[in-house]
Structures are given as C-alpha cells and as structure tokens.
C-alpha cells in the first residue's frame, strides 16, 4: 500500500514507524479524537470496514488533554486514623448563614478530634474571629487532656491562612495540613460533620416552627450536646 524505500537498516526503521504512527494519528483525528482503545476495538471486532491496521502510539494527544481532562478520583477508606487524642484535629468554617442571628452571628467553626471524633463548635460574627476561636479551643482541650495539638487539617480558606494564624501554628509546633485548592474532599471529616449538623438544625427548627435566627442555639446544642 505504501511505498517503502529500502535503504540501510536505520533509515528503514524510522521511516516505517513514522508511517504507522501517522496512520494511527490520522484515524484518531478522523474519528473526532476517539481514544486508541476504541479504534482497536473497532478493528478487532470488525465493527467497521475500511479501517487500516493501527498501533497505539505512546505520545499524548495534546488536544485530547485540553478537551477531555477531568479530576482524579479520590481514594476511599485510605485515611490514617489518630492513635491518641489531639494527634489530628480537623477544622472547617461554615457560612455565611442567613439570616444572621440575634447576636449578629453568621458563621460557625467546628473542630473535630480525629481520635474520638468529638466535636467543638463556636459561632462567630465574622470570619476573622476564627483565629481567636482556635486559640480558645486550643487552650481548652490542651488544658483538659494535658496533650498538645499535633496536626491541624484545614482548607485554604483565608481565615486559616492569615499571617498571624500561620505564625501562631509555627510557634506552637502545630503542623498544618492544608487541603489542595478547591478540594473539599480532602477535608472530608469536617465537611461531613457540617452536613450532619445542618441536617439536625433544620429538623429541630422545623419541628417547633422556631424562627431561623435562632440557629446558633440549635447548632450548639446539636453539635456539642446531642
């Protein structure tokens, strides 16, 4: 089908591979960037006629990556668990919640000890209050247990990435595990807890037809007491 100029061995080799690759690429493009496994299936099962023999090239089709790239899947059940209290603390800020409460609260921040999964919540008027909430949480639990917080797993929210917050963590020897940007999946423990808390709060407020602005009371009793 294709004229092959027979020269010395090396020339023959390169010429041959280039031709084959071109055909594979050509059909890849003709089929609207169909993946090479798809082309192979068509060929092997004899689903179409007129398709020549194709070998899969090893290069990446740049346009396919640009057009089809997707997020990697997340591993399930592979996370390590803390062996003792305060070895790992998860934290996340939730809000702004509307309506604002009677005390002008708009956010709540939750801290979860990975070992016991005990939760502490603080309701906050502003995001910037997260730092002082963390300081009081740290003082409370470290005094209670006599241990120190070792690792803090948080997202890349501005409330956790301020200069003073990073400096405070550095001074106290707390290692921060920041999630990758736009990847709340890596902060799974907290995100799931927020869902449970808000589910509880909605049910509790609905049952007694309590005005929504009472949500901080429901959040506190739901998360830390029940």
């Amino acid at each position: 089908m294709f004229p092959i100029i027979v020269g010395d061995g090396a020339d023959f080799q390169t010429c041959f591979t280039a031709k084959v690759k071109d055909i594979a690429w050509l059909w890849h493009l003709r089929y609207g960037h169909l993946n090479f496994n798809g082309l192979k299936t068509l060929l092997q099962k004899g689903m179409v006629t007129g398709l020549p023999q194709i070998t899969t090239p090893s290069q990446v089709c740049e346009d396919c990556v640009i057009g089809k790239h997707q997020r990697d899947s997340f591993p399930k059940g592979k996370a390590w668990r803390a062996k003792q209290p305060l070895e790992l603390v998860h934290s996340d800020l939730c809000g702004p919640i509307s309506p604002t409460s009677n005390g002008n609260k708009r956010y709540f921040i939750s801290f979860i000890d990975d070992y016991s999964r005990r939760t502490w919540v603080y309701v906050l008027p502003e995001k910037s209050e997260a730092f002082s909430a963390f300081k009081s949480f740290k003082a409370l639990v470290e005094n209670e247990t006599g241990r120190a917080i070792k690792v803090l797993r948080i997202d890349r929210g501005g409330e956790f990435n301020s200069q003073e917050f990073s400096k405070f963590c550095e001074m106290n020897g707390i290692r921060r595990q920041l999630t990758a940007a736009y990847t709340p999946q890596q902060n799974e423990v907290c995100e799931r807890k927020n869902r449970t808390i808000l589910n509880m709060v909605r049910s509790m407020l609905s049952r007694k037809a309590i005005p929504k602005c009472f949500w901080p009371d429901a959040v506190i009793i739901g998360a830390s007491t029940y």
């Binding site: 000890d113 939760t119 007694k208 309590i210 009472f214 506190i220 009793i221 739901g222 007491t225 029940y226």
Partner: protein, 89 residues
C-alpha cells in the same frame, strides 16, 4: 453529635472516647419545647406568678442549668428550676 453513635469509633460515643466514661443523657429535652422557669422570691411580690413561660434553647455552657428564651421579654435566661412540657410534640 458527641453523644450520638458514629461508625468511626466502635461501640462508644465520641464523648466516651474523649473522656473515658459513659455520658449521661437524662437531662436531654426536646429543642424548642415549652419550659416554665421558676421566678425567685426576690423578683416577685406575693401575688405575682411564680413561673414564667419560656422556650427551651439548650444547656448553659458555664453553669449546671438550662438556657431558656422568654418570647415576651425577648431575653435569654439561665435557670435550673424548670418544669418542661414536652407533651405538645
């Protein structure tokens, strides 16, 4: 959530895993139920009502008492002498 079961700690509540002893739940009340808080002697005259009608909001963080909301005065009060009416579910 600290006194509810979770799959992540087996056969105990997070509260027990944290503290080491079983939590008591006998003080739990339905959120938002009617509560009558006792009005102390100092705050009333002979024929004034001895209780005020409130709504249960939770447990006080600092004292061993309940947190109640009086919708008439629009104030949150902390009281340990409370009669609850949970019958109106």
């Amino acid at each position: 959530m600290n006194r509810s079961p979770t799959l992540e700690v087996k056969n105990m509540t997070p509260e027990e895993a944290w503290k080491g002893n079983k939590p008591a739940v006998d003080y739990f009340k339905v959120f938002g139920c009617i509560a009558f808080a006792h009005v102390p002697d100092e705050k009333r005259k002979k024929l004034d009502a001895k209780a005020e009608k409130c709504i249960f909001l939770g447990v006080s963080e600092h004292s061993k008492a309940y947190r109640l909301y009086n919708p008439v005065t629009q104030k949150v009060i902390i009281s340990r002498d409370v009669v609850f009416d949970e019958s109106k579910m």
